[in-house]
């Protein structure tokens, strides 16, 4: 058994790094997290002739000139400066054969790390198709490191690559290109001033990278003294005719181009490639825009349409499990926790999976084939109006279906501030969970008899427009204040078009689903259980009797008397019918029967009434009552307030809570606005609509100002962040509680102000 070796995989984005990584390590992968940064690195393992090789896939990069803590993680790891990882024994530099010059620039930087390097020349098929021929021995000689041609997507050359890696481990490290003597002198002098253990590699980077991460870090450590030393060093270089950062690029590219010229034969005339042909259409002003709109429409439609049946399936699965548990367990707090807390909570997590996985399937295909960068190119101008870049477009658009996949999609944005701004405003886009709230309230208060038929549609449209206008404005405000900073570099590579690989698309979908379920799921579940408990406890009435038991007893009574009630109802209905001519009048109910019917009907309404009483007296209900003054300026009573608070796990929960608080029992959200819902569910919705109308009409404020109050609730829900899943995903994606807390606070404040203005202005108009 040979000693295990650690290998780092480094390459430009689009060099085929992930494909090589997956081909080498198969399914044995896990994600490594690094404290304080949002970087994730995938780690894998494989064994080659008895040697265990652990492989780390570093994020794709064009250069080792780190500009952010995120980029610095990779550099530190390569230098053996991350406590949680051993220093790699070999670095594999993967480069694109069709674009050798540019990719070998990064390789030349890797040669300065003091670690053995193996170069893997990928995509040799595409290079051959372009008429390029290679002399790998010569290339290896010029670069001073082993060079292995590979075709990562079909496994060609992987055996040779593994052998080269094993041979390279433990060998002496190579040297990169020689810099001008003046540069070496300046670097040496600076190194002396820094006294201790700062690696030469970083000292040189500090000189070259003006305003880079190494410079910031060293200034923080050594103070202003170092700043003047750096400025002095750069001045000296400029006078010597080797100004930074140009000196590095010229030195490295001169060296790389000499090596490539000796080893690669190119056709005299550059052949027209597929990428040239496709780009003639896809980045064309007219055709490109049309194709883009079509792709976005398809993506958007499929998130809605394909996800819907799967989400319904998860919903009905959840119902089945809940019914099964209900049947198998005696009632009590434990069963209630299982059914209403945990099973609903798990269902509430799983229900997002279809949307997340479909969107990530699309993103994987669009990224792998090279279209993602074109989409960002086409949309850049529009998004730049709100201080973002084209890369924010897809995350924002997907948020119209659901903010969860939208926030996750923001991973494609490399710039930290842009990514944060996108994540923070994505929940403002009107997602599909807001729809039931809108439809319920529009149905109850806007679509009243006598109001114009176009009104409901206009109100719904207005609710969507709130998100579309407020989100960019908040993004702009964030970019001008909290997330202000030097404008990022928007230069973006438009990679060559390539056929996406099915397995890698599947991997991305699975990875996104897994990450969500595992890391956001637990938080969502906790939030759901918490709110459930706040509505469940205390569960005894003033006489110390248990509500759940009283409800159950009342329900049993309803079931027992159902037949009798139905018979009486039927008779009562018939008694009111006009008899046909010549027929005798229908039999009338006797006084006894009338009294019986009244009693039974009352009993039938008892379970819902008890539930309402219970929840109104629950911990959350009491808090709501106590907080009524806070809700008053919005035109709300405490019941609306409680429903809004109880919908913290998910917006649409407000509908169900309304149902309980207004004594009509739980209403199925899915039945709202759904023509195919079963009759009972529809009746419930109608019952809720009527109950809300009746309750409000008894109240002086809501009786008179029903429409402004309904609008105020809708505006609140358009702007608030009553969605534990979104907050959990923001926590996951930003790695800190700061940003989800910030999102919740700013959106709730925005929602409050919006609802306040809506009600007050509405009240003024109604008069």
């Amino acid at each position: 058994m040979a000693d295990p070796i650690t290998v780092a995989l480094v390459g430009n984005p689009n060099a085929g790094k992930s494909t090589l990584f997956n081909a080498l390590s198969g399914l044995r992968q896990r994600i490594g997290n690094y404290p304080g940064v949002t970087v994730e690195m995938t780690k894998g393992e494989f064994s080659a002739d008895g040697t265990t090789v652990s492989l780390i896939d570093l994020p794709g990069t064009y250069s080792l000139a780190a500009r952010s803590p995120d980029e610095m993680v990779a550099v530190d790891l390569l230098l053996g400066r991350r406590p949680e990882e051993p220093r790699p024994s070999v670095v594999v530099s993967i480069v694109d054969a069709t674009n050798l010059d540019r990719h070998l620039y990064l390789t030349s930087q890797l040669l300065d790390l003091g670690v053995p390097v193996v170069v893997a020349v990928n995509m040799i098929d595409a290079a051959a198709a372009q008429g390029l021929t290679f002399n790998y021995a010569k290339l290896s000689e010029s670069l001073g490191v082993p060079v292995v041609p590979i075709q990562a997507n079909n496994g060609t050359g992987l055996a040779q690559l593994t052998t080269a890696i094993r041979t390279a481990a433990g060998q002496t490290a190579p040297h990169g290109p020689a810099f001008p003597v003046a540069f070496d002198q300046v670097a040496e002098q600076l190194q002396k001033e820094l006294s201790d253990e700062i690696p030469t590699f970083l000292v040189r980077r500090a000189i070259i990278d003006i305003g880079g991460y190494t410079e910031q870090w060293l200034i923080e450590r050594y103070g202003a003294r170092l700043k003047s030393a750096l400025i002095g060093a750069r001045d000296k270089l400029a006078t010597a005719g080797h100004a930074v950062p140009g000196v590095e690029a010229r030195t490295r590219f001169a060296w790389v181009r000499t090596a490539v010229a000796a080893a690669v034969t190119k056709p005299a005339v550059r052949p027209v490639t597929w990428t040239d042909r496709i780009d003639n259409v896809l980045t064309n002003r007219v055709w490109g825009t049309l194709v883009f709109l079509l792709v976005m429409f398809l993506m958007f439609q499929s998130i809605f349409l394909w996800a819907k049946p799967l989400m319904d399936l998860i919903g009905s699965g959840q119902d089945t499990v809940a019914k099964g548990v209900e049947g198998a367990m005696p009632s009590g707090p434990l069963r209630a926790l299982l059914v209403d807390g945990i099973i609903k909570g798990v269902g509430g997590v799983l229900v997002f999976l279809p949307q997340i996985m479909i969107l990530f399937g699309f993103i994987a295909v669009l990224e792998d084939c090279g279209y993602m960068a074109r989409a960002a190119f086409l949309m850049d101008r529009v998004m730049s109006r709100c201080g973002l870049s084209g890369k924010s477009f897809i995350p924002m658009l997907s948020s119209v279906a659901c903010a969860i996949p939208g926030v996750m999609a923001a991973r494609v944005i490399e710039n930290r501030r842009d990514r944060l701004a996108t994540i923070l405003v994505a929940p403002l886009m009107s997602c599909s969970a807001r729809l039931p709230v809108y439809i319920l309230l529009i149905g109850a208060f806007i679509a009243r008899p006598g109001s114009p038929g176009w009104l409901p549609g206009v109100v719904l449209f207005a609710m969507y427009m709130i998100g579309f206008t407020v989100a960019p404005l908040v993004a702009l405000a964030l970019k001008r204040t909290l997330l202000r900073g030097a404008p990022p570099v928007f230069v973006m590579e438009l990679p060559n078009y390539r056929r996406p690989k099915f397995t890698s698309v599947l991997r991305r979908m699975g990875g996104a689903g897994w990450a969500f379920t595992l890391r956001a799921g637990t938080i969502i579940l906790m939030a759901m259980i918490l709110v459930w408990a706040a509505l469940y406890f205390p569960f005894t009435d003033a006489n110390g009797e248990s509500y759940p038991e009283r409800v159950e007893k009342a329900e049993d009574a309803v079931k027992e008397n159902a037949e009798k009630l139905n018979a009486l109802k039927e008779k009562d209905e018939k008694s009111k019918e006009e008899p046909a001519e010549g027929e005798p009048a229908p039999p009338q109910l006797t006084d006894d029967e009338k009294a019986e019917l009244e009693k039974l009907e009352e009993a039938a309404a008892l379970p819902d009434k008890l539930n309402g009483e219970w929840k109104r007296g629950s911990a959350l209900g009491r808090v709501g009552l106590w907080m009524e003054p806070v809700f008053k300026p919005l035109g709300w009573d405490w019941k609306i307030g409680v429903a809004a608070m109880a919908s913290f796990p998910a917006r649409e929960v407000i509908v169900g809570t309304f149902g309980i608080l207004y004594d009509v029992g739980e209403v199925d959200t899915k039945a709202i606005g759904n023509k195919n819902a079963d009759a009972e569910a529809k009746e419930k919705v109608a019952g809720l609509t009527k109950a809300v109308q009746d309750d409000w009409s008894k109240d002086p404020v809501r009786g008179k100002y029903g429409v402004p109050v309904a609008l105020s609730i809708m505006v609140f829900f358009a702007l608030c962040c009553q969605c534990a899943a979104t907050l959990a995903v923001i926590k996951r994606e930003t790695g800190s509680w700061l940003w989800p807390s910030f999102t919740f606070v700013y959106m709730t404040a925005l929602a409050y102000v919006g609802a306040f203005l809506t009600f007050q202005i509405g009240r003024f108009i109604v008069g």
């Binding site: 000139a65 674009n99 540019r102 690029a249 064309n284 002003r285 101008r381 529009v382 230069v491 438009l494």
Partner: protein
């Protein structure tokens, strides 16, 4: 004729942002924010490199350029720091 390329700074050299799709030029100098200049250099956009403007985005900004086998999207404000000789 210089008015076409005139800028507030009174620079007379055309820049990459002045080119229309299909035009090819040779880079004379690269200037701008240090981070931007470094990134352009890292991509290989050095002095003397020949660059073709492939397309403009629907609203005229950013631009797509090609040099060798590389394609980049550049905002016009970024391309304005690259002076060129039109070939």
């Amino acid at each position: 004729m210089f008015a076409d390329f005139g800028s507030p700074g009174g620079r007379l050299m055309p820049t990459l942002s002045d080119l229309s799709p299909g035009q090819t030029a040779e880079i004379l100098s690269v200037s701008g924010d240090p981070a931007l200049v470094q990134r352009l250099y890292e991509f290989g956009l050095l002095e003397g490199e020949r660059v073709e403007v492939v397309a403009l985005a629907p609203l005229g900004d950013p631009i797509e350029i090609r040099f060798g086998n590389s394609r980049l999207s550049l905002r016009k404000s970024e391309a304005a720091g690259i002076t060129v000789v039109i070939r």
